[in-house]
C-alpha cells in the first residue's frame, strides 16, 4: 500500500489529504504554525500516520509523493520579512521599481500610503550600460559600477540581488555578466536576473517581478531545504512537488530558483480541483469555481479544461507579471460585516469580523452583524450543528445586532434585513463571477459551477440563480478543496519571448527558432524533474494587438511549434474573434502586430484514484435528520434537513432542502434539486430540468 499526500498550508489551517492505492481518501486539519510552518506540516503528517495506524517513519516510507502548497513567500511579502535585497538597474532609471508607474488606485482617498518599498532606495544601485530598442549595445557595461554596487550591498549584508536592465530580454549579455561578477564578489548570495525571471517587454512589471523573486527566494530556499531534510530523516524517499501560482507544480529545485512563481499559489489548487470534480461529476470542462471562506471569495473560470491565466497579478501592492491563474478575489465571506452607509443604504463587506471576534452569533465579542448572523436567522445554519456542534451559535444576539444596526435604520423587520444582507452579499459575489466570465467574453450560463469553502455552499444556489447558471457541484471535500487540487496538479512551466513585429512582416524562421528555444528549455526542465517525453504536453500561443494599441490579447497559434504562413492567417482570425468577444468590436483587415510568443509546458503526473460509492438508489430518506424553518422566496418554510454523510450515490432531494456536513452546509433553494454522484459530490440542478440533458449541453462538445 502506498500513499499520496496533498498538504495545503493556509492562513489558519494546514489541510492534508491522503489517498491510498485503493482510492480511499482521508482529511486531516491542523493549525498552521506561522513562525515555522514545517511544524504544522509534520503535525499533520503525524496525524495522518496515526490515522493509518503507522508510525510517522513507516507512513512516510510508504508515501510516493507529497504535493505541497506553501504561503512562505506570500507571507514574506505581506509581512515585509523577505530577504534583504539589493537591486541593480540601468543608470538613469533608479526609481522605476518604486515609482510603481505613479499610480494611486483610490484616487479620492487622501488618507493612505503606498505600500512600503520592497527594496529601499539606498539598496537600488544603478550601473552605466544600455541596450537599445533593437537589442544593440549602445553603452557597454561599466564593470566598475557593478563592483561598486556590490560593495555597497556587501556592506549592507544583502542576501539577494535582483538585476533588471532595459531591453535585457532582447540582449541579456549585461545581466549575465553581472551575475558572473556577483558570483565572484558575493558568493552564496541569491541572484535573480530579469532575462530569466520574465524575459518580456514592460520595465516596471519586469523589475517588480524580478525584485519579488529575489525578495522571496532565500526564505523559500531555506524552508524547502529544512523541510526536505526533515522528511528524509523521517524516511521519506518519494517525490516532493511544490504548488505554483499557475495551477501547476514544480520540483523544489526549480521552486527555489523561481520562488516568485509560488506567490499566488494559495488559492491555485482551487481551479484544478474544480476541474477534477467537474470532470468526474459528468465530464464538464467548462467550469467556474468559487471558494467562499470567512473573509474572502475567490472566483475563477476554466474553459475547455484550461483555467484562465492572467499576467496582471499583484501581491501586497507589488506587481507580479508572470502568468498566474486568473483568480478574482473580493472581500466577501461569512464574516463580512453589514452596515448602513452615509447615504442610508445597506453595504455588506469588504470589512470582515474574521475568525476573532467573528460574527455576533459566535458569542466571542463580535458586535457587528455579519453574513453568518444573517444565515443563522434565515434558518440556513443550525445553531446546534455549526462545525459539527463544536460551536453553539447565539441566534438571539445575532437578531439583536441586525435589528439595531440594520433593520431599525432601514425601517424593516429583522428577517427582511437579514434577507437583505443575504441578497447583497450574493449579488456582490455574482458581480465577481461576472468579472471572470462576462467581462472576459464568456456567458456564465454555459458553465457548471463548482463550489468550495465553508460558507460557499450556503450561498451558491442563489449566486447561480442570479446568473442563470443551471448546474452547481459541491464536492464532499469542499472544505479541503485546494489540497485536493494539489494532488491532481500536473507540472507546469510557462515561457515567454518578446518579438515585436508587424504580423505581415513576421520572420517565420525567427518565430520558429524562438518557439524551438522555449520548447528545448521546457523539455530539459521537465525531464530534469523526471517527466518522460511522452508525458510532456506543449501549447503555443502569441500576444497580439492592432498596431498602435497598448494591450495585447493572447491567442493560441500552432499545435506543433512550427508556424506556417497558414497558421499566421488563422492566428489573426482568432485574434479578431477574441477581440470582438472581449471588447465589443474588431477590425478585420486592420494591421496586427506580434508582441510576445509563449509556450506553456505541462508534465502530466499520475492522478490518484478516488473511491467510488456503490449505487444507493434515489431515496434519501435514510439521511433525513428532521425539519427546520428556513427562509425562501419571502417566507419561512418547513425545510427538510439531511445528513450529508449518510447520503449515498444516486440519492435525490428536491429543494427547498438543507444538507449538513460537519464543516459545511448546502442550501438547496426551491429553484433547484440535487443528486449525489458516485464520488459523493452533490450535483444541484435547476428544478424540473432533465439532469442528463442539461449535463450533455454543458459537457465538453455539447455546446460547440
Amino acid at each position: 500500500m502506498t500513499f499520496r499526500v496533498g498538504i495545503d498550508v493556509g492562513g489558519t489551517f494546514t489541510d492534508l489529504l491522503v489517498t491510498d492505492g485503493a482510492g480511499r481518501s482521508s482529511i486531516y486539519k491542523t493549525l498552521t504554525t506561522p513562525s515555522d510552518p514545517a511544524v504544522g506540516v509534520f503535525d499533520a503528517l503525524s496525524r495522518a500516520a496515526a490515522g493509518n495506524n503507522l508510525s510517522l517513519k513507516d507512513f512516510l516510507g510508504k508515501v510516493d509523493s507529497i504535493v505541497h502548497g506553501t504561503t512562505i513567500t506570500t507571507n514574506a511579502v505581506l509581512t515585509g520579512e523577505g530577504a534583504r535585497t539589493g537591486f541593480i538597474t540601468t543608470k538613469g532609471f533608479r526609481d522605476v521599481l518604486n515609482m510603481r508607474r505613479g499610480l494611486k488606485e483610490r484616487m479620492y482617498d487622501s488618507k493612505y500610503s503606498p505600500p512600503p518599498s520592497l527594496v529601499p532606495r539606498r539598496l537600488i544601485q544603478v550601473v552605466e550600460e544600455r541596450i537599445d530598442v533593437e537589442g544593440r549595445e549602445i553603452t557597454p557595461l561599466n564593470e566598475d559600477d557593478v563592483s561598486e554596487a556590490l560593495r555597497k550591498f556587501k556592506e549592507a549584508n544583502v542576501e539577494a540581488v535582483a538585476v533588471s536592465f532595459l531591453w535585457s530580454f532582447f540582449n541579456p549579455s549585461h545581466e549575465e555578466r553581472v551575475r558572473e561578477i556577483c558570483e565572484k564578489e558575493l558568493p552564496g548570495v541569491y541572484v535573480s536576473l530579469s532575462c530569466e525571471i520574465l524575459p518580456q517587454i514592460r520595465l516596471y512589471e519586469r523589475n517588480s517581478t524580478t525584485a519579488l523573486n529575489a525578495y522571496v527566494g532565500p526564505p523559500l530556499a531555506r524552508y524547502l531545504r529544512s523541510l526536505r531534510e526533515g522528511l528524509r530523516e523521517q524516511g521519506f524517499g518519494g517525490t516532493l512537488l511544490i504548488m505554483q501560482s499557475n495551477g501547476g507544480v514544480m520540483s523544489p529545485e526549480l521552486a527555489a530558483r523561481f520562488a516568485s512563481n509560488t506567490l499566488l499559489s494559495g488559492p491555485a489548487g482551487g481551479p484544478v480541483a474544480g476541474l477534477f470534480y467537474g470532470n468526474s461529476a459528468g465530464g464538464f470542462d467548462d467550469i467556474v469555481t468559487i471558494d467562499m471562506g470567512g473573509t474572502s471569495f475567490d472566483a475563477a473560470l476554466i474553459r475547455e479544461g484550461r483555467p484562465a491565466i492572467t499576467i496582471e497579478g499583484s501581491v501586497g501592492g507589488y506587481r507580479l507579471a508572470s502568468p498566474n491563474l486568473d483568480i478574482h478575489t473580493i472581500g466577501a465571506g461569512g464574516g463580512s460585516i453589514a452596515s448602513i452607509d452615509a447615504g442610508g443604504l445597506l453595504r455588506v463587506g469588504p470589512k470582515s469580523a474574521g475568525a476573532e471576534p467573528g460574527p455576533v452569533c459566535y458569542g466571542r465579542g463580535g458586535t457587528e452583524p455579519t453574513v453568518t448572523d444573517a444565515d443563522l436567522l434565515l434558518g440556513y445554519l443550525d445553531a446546534d450543528f455549526f462545525w459539527g456542534g463544536q460551536l453553539r451559535l447565539d441566534a438571539e444576539a445575532a437578531g439583536q445586532a441586525i435589528k439595531e444596526k440594520i433593520a431599525d435604520k432601514l425601517g424593516m423587520d429583522v428577517v427582511a434585513a437579514a434577507n437583505g444582507i443575504y441578497q447583497v452579499i450574493n449579488n456582490n459575489m455574482a458581480e465577481a463571477l461576472q468579472v471572470v466570465s462576462v467581462q472576459q467574453g464568456y456567458d456564465p450560463r454555459e458553465f457548471a459551477l463548482v463550489v468550495a469553502g465553508g460558507a460557499g455552499p450556503i450561498h451558491a444556489s442563489m449566486i447561480a440563480r442570479e446568473l442563470g447558471m443551471q448546474l452547481v457541484i459541491t464536492p464532499r471535500e469542499s472544505s479541503v478543496f485546494c489540497a485536493a487540487g494539489m494532488l491532481i496538479s500536473d507540472l507546469r512551466h510557462d515561457y515567454v519571448r518578446t518579438y515585436t513585429i508587424d504580423v505581415d512582416k513576421v520572420d517565420l524562421p525567427r518565430v520558429n527558432r524562438l518557439y524551438a528555444e522555449m520548447t528545448r528549455e521546457a523539455k530539459d526542465t521537465l525531464q530534469a524533474e523526471g517527466i518522460p517525453l511522452d508525458r510532456i504536453k506543449l501549447s503555443f500561443s502569441a500576444d497580439l494587438r492592432y498596431i498602435m494599441q497598448f494591450n495585447e490579447v493572447e491567442v493560441s497559434t500552432t499545435a506543433s511549434g512550427g508556424m506556417s504562413a497558414g497558421d499566421i492567417t488563422a492566428m489573426v482570425d482568432a485574434f479578431n474573434k477574441r477581440h470582438d468577444a472581449l471588447y465589443g468590436y474588431s477590425m478585420p483587415g486592420a494591421p496586427v502586430e506580434l508582441i510576445n510568443l509563449r509556450v506553456s509546458a505541462v508534465g502530466v503526473t499520475d492522478k490518484p484514484n478516488f473511491e467510488r460509492l456503490p449505487f444507493a438508489g434515489e431515496d434519501a430518506s435514510a439521511a433525513l435528520k428532521g425539519k427546520r424553518r428556513a427562509f425562501f422566496d419571502g417566507k419561512f418554510i418547513d425545510t427538510p434537513v439531511y445528513d450529508g454523510l449518510k447520503m449515498g450515490y444516486g440519492n435525490h432531494v428536491v429543494g427547498p432542502a438543507i444538507i449538513e456536513q460537519p464543516t459545511t452546509t448546502i442550501v438547496v433553494t426551491p429553484d433547484y434539486e440535487v443528486r449525489c454522484d458516485e464520488f459523493g459530490s452533490y450535483v444541484m440542478y435547476s428544478r424540473g430540468a432533465n439532469l442528463e440533458e442539461l449535463a450533455a449541453r454543458l459537457r465538453k462538445g455539447g455546446r460547440r
Binding site: M99, G102, D132, G343, L345, Y583, G584
Partner: protein, 581 residues
C-alpha cells in the same frame, strides 16, 4: 420618511452596484483596446450612464478632471438631436461651445433602447491623440481662436440607426494628423459604449424599466443625502483664495489669476469665481463644464472617498462663474489647455480655501504639470505616433498624517494617471530615454513632506519633430505651496540641449522643434509639504537622507536635523539646537 418607497433599499443597493460595475466594464474596454497611449496607458478617459431623463446615474472617473463634464456633453447631444434619436445611433461631440469641456476629449454616447423605448445612454469619453487645428496631440499654445485650436465637431452621428456614417467619419479623420490613431480610438469608444449597452439591456430584461427608475430615484436621493451629511460637517462661512497660471502662451509676460470664494451654508456649498481674470487670448480658457468639473475635483477629494459622484451628490454644489471670464469663456477663444493648468489652479484655489475650514481633510498643492505633447512619423517604423510625455509627472501634496505620493501627478488625475512604460514608449516613438528618476530635494518639506518630483530626459532620434510644451508651475508664483506650516517645493524647470552644446531653457505653453541628437530634460517638481517641518521625526528625515531623496544640507536647512556625513547618523544635540528645543 412618510412616503414608503416602492423598491426596498436592498434592491436599490443591488441595482446601484450593478450600474457602477457597468461603468467599469465600459472602462475595461477603453483600457484594453485603445491605440493612443493617452487612453490605454495614461487612462485619460471617463465612463458614465444616464437615464432617459438625462439624469447622471453612474460614472467611473478614471481621470477626475473629466468626470464632472459628461453630463453637459450628454445633455447637449440629446438636445441637439431631440426627436431624431434612434436605436443603433452612436453620437460624438468635441465642440467646447456646444457642451464639451476640452477639444481633444471626444464624447461618444449610445442610446440604449429596450422594447423600442429609449431607456439609458452609455458614454465613453476620452482624450484623443489629435483634435485637428494647429496643435500637437490636441495642444496648440499659439492658438488665438477656437479654429486654430481644433476641429470643431458639434453633436453628430457616428452611426445612424446602426449604419456606419461614412461622411462624418471621413470628415473627422481627414482633418486629423494621426487619423489612424483617432479612428482606432473612436472604434474603441463605440465598442466600449456597446459593452455598456449590452449590460444595460441585461439589466432591463431582469428588472424592467419601472423598477430600475424607482431604484435610481432612491439611489440619487441617497447620494444627495450622503453629500449633505458631509457638507454639514464643514463650518459655515466664506473662504477665499487665489492662484495663478504662468501665462496663456500668447501673452507670455502676463500671469492669469483665478479668484475663488467658497461659501458654505449648512448643507449647500457654492464655488464662486467672481473676480477671476477676463478670458484671455491663449488656450487656457475654461468653458463652464471644465470649471464645474474642476470644482467637483477640489471638493470630492476632501470628503468621504466612498461618496459617489452623480446627479444626486452634486445637487447641493453650485458653481458661479461670470460669463466672459477665464473660467466661463465665450466664443471664439481657444481652450485646449483648460484641463491642465486651469484645472490645477482651480483645484489649488479650492483646497486653499477649504483649508481654512477643514484643514485636516485638505492636501497641499501637487506639482503642476509642464511637459510637451509631440507627434510625427517614427522613421524606424515608418509609422505615425502621438505622445504626451507623462513620464515627467511630479509629486503629490502632503496631507495631515500622510506624506504626498511620489511621481503621482498631476492633480487633475488625482493619481489615476499611469506613467507609460519606458520600453513601450521607445518602441513607438523616435526617442531614447536616458533619465527617469526622482529629483532629490524636490519635495516640499513638512511634518508630512510632499511626494518626490522627477527628472526626465530623452534624446530625439528623428528630425523636425514638433513639441507643444504645455502647463504651468515654471514660475515662483506657481510652484507648489506648503500648507498649515509646511513649505513649498521648487518651481519646475526644463531645457533642450543641442548637439553643438547650445542650451535652450524651455517655458510653458510654447512650441519647440527637435532634431536628431537634441536632448530635452525636464525637472518636474515635488508636492507641497503639510505642517511644520521641524516637527517631522528626525529618524524619518534620516531615512530620506540615506535614500538620497533629501540632501544633508536640506535636512539641516529645512528640517533642523543635523546629520554627520561620516557616520550618516543623527547628531541629536545639534538637532535639538537647530530645532530650538
Amino acid at each position: 420618511m412618510t412616503d414608503k418607497p416602492n423598491v426596498d433599499p436592498i434592491l436599490v443597493s443591488v441595482i446601484a452596484n450593478r450600474l457602477d460595475a457597468i461603468t467599469k466594464e465600459i472602462g475595461m474596454t477603453m483600457l484594453r483596446t485603445s491605440r493612443s497611449p493617452i487612453f490605454s496607458e495614461a487612462r485619460d478617459f471617463v465612463t458614465a450612464i444616464f437615464d432617459h431623463k438625462l439624469r447622471w446615474v453612474a460614472q467611473t472617473g478614471y481621470i477626475p478632471v473629466i468626470a464632472g463634464t459628461t453630463s453637459f456633453s450628454q445633455k447637449a447631444i440629446a438636445q441637439a438631436f431631440e426627436g431624431e434619436i434612434y436605436e443603433g445611433d452612436v453620437f460624438v461631440l468635441n465642440d467646447v461651445y456646444s457642451g464639451n469641456n476640452q477639444p481633444p476629449d471626444f464624447a461618444v454616447t449610445k442610446p440604449v433602447f429596450w422594447k423600442g423605448e429609449l431607456r439609458f445612454w452609455a458614454m465613453a469619453k476620452g482624450h484623443h491623440a489629435d483634435s485637428g487645428g494647429g496643435g500637437v496631440a490636441g495642444y496648440n499654445p499659439e492658438a488665438k481662436d477656437i479654429w486654430e485650436d481644433c476641429l470643431r465637431i458639434p453633436p453628430a452621428k457616428l452611426y445612424d440607426r446602426g449604419k456606419y456614417n461614412k461622411q462624418i467619419w471621413n470628415f473627422i479623420l481627414y482633418n486629423m494628423r494621426v487619423p489612424f490613431l483617432v479612428e482606432g480610438d473612436l472604434h474603441c469608444q463605440v465598442g466600449a459604449a456597446t459593452v455598456g449597452e449590452r449590460a444595460l439591456l441585461a439589466l432591463l430584461d431582469k428588472y424592467g424599466p419601472e423598477t430600475l427608475e424607482a431604484a435610481i430615484d432612491e439611489w440619487l436621493a441617497a447620494s444627495e443625502a450622503h453629500m449633505r451629511r458631509e457638507l454639514r460637517q464643514i463650518p459655515n462661512g466664506a473662504y477665499s483664495a487665489e492662484r495663478k497660471i504662468d501665462h496663456d502662451g500668447v501673452d507670455k509676460d502676463k500671469m492669469v489669476t483665478i479668484r475663488l470664494n467658497v461659501v458654505v451654508e449648512d448643507e449647500d456649498i457654492t464655488f464662486d469665481f467672481t473676480g477671476s481674470d477676463p478670458q484671455v487670448r491663449g488656450f487656457i480658457n475654461s468653458p463652464y463644464p471644465n470649471t464645474v468639473s474642476s470644482s467637483y475635483l477640489a471638493l470630492f477629494s476632501c470628503l468621504d472617498p466612498d461618496l459617489r459622484m452623480n446627479d444626486g451628490s452634486t445637487k447641493p454644489v453650485k458653481v458661479v462663474a461670470p460669463e466672459g471670464s477665464v473660467v466661463n469663456c465665450l466664443p471664439p477663444v481657444p481652450t485646449s489647455a483648460d484641463t491642465v493648468p486651469t484645472c490645477e489652479t482651480i483645484c489649488e484655489a479650492g483646497w486653499l480655501a477649504l483649508s481654512q475650514a477643514i484643514p485636516g481633510q485638505v492636501q497641499a498643492p501637487w506639482a503642476r504639470w509642464c511637459a510637451p505633447a509631440s507627434a510625427g512619423i517614427n522613421p524606424r517604423l515608418g509609422r505615425p505616433f502621438a505622445e504626451i510625455h507623462f513620464m515627467s509627472k511630479g509629486g503629490g501634496g502632503a496631507t495631515e498624517g500622510f506624506d504626498g505620493w511620489d511621481h503621482v501627478g498631476t492633480v487633475v488625475c488625482l493619481g489615476g494617471l499611469r506613467s507609460p512604460d519606458p520600453e513601450l514608449h521607445e518602441l513607438v516613438t523616435p526617442y531614447r530615454i536616458s533619465k527617469y528618476e526622482y529629483w532629490p530635494d524636490s519635495a516640499g518639506p513638512g511634518r508630512w513632506r510632499g511626494g518626490m518630483g522627477v527628472k526626465y530626459r530623452w534624446a530625439c532620434l528623428a528630425d523636425g519633430i514638433p513639441f507643444a510644451n504645455f502647463g504651468s508651475g515654471m514660475r515662483d508664483e506657481t510652484a507648489p505651496l506648503g500648507i498649515m506650516g509646511g513649505k513649498g517645493a521648487p518651481k519646475s524647470v526644463g531645457f533642450i540641449q543641442r548637439p553643438d552644446g547650445t542650451v535652450v531653457e524651455t517655458d510653458a505653453n510654447t512650441f519647440y522643434a527637435m532634431n536628431s541628437g537634441d536632448e530635452w530634460e525636464i525637472w518636474n517638481s515635488g508636492g507641497g509639504g503639510f505642517g511644520n517641518p521641524l516637527e517631522r521625526p528626525p529618524e524619518r528625515v534620516l531615512d530620506d537622507v540615506l535614500d538620497e531623496l533629501v540632501s544633508i544640507e536640506a535636512a539641516r536647512r529645512d528640517y533642523g536635523v543635523a546629520i554627520d556625513p561620516q557616520t550618516m547618523t543623527i547628531n541629536w544635540e545639534e538637532t535639538k539646537k537647530l530645532r530650538g528645543l
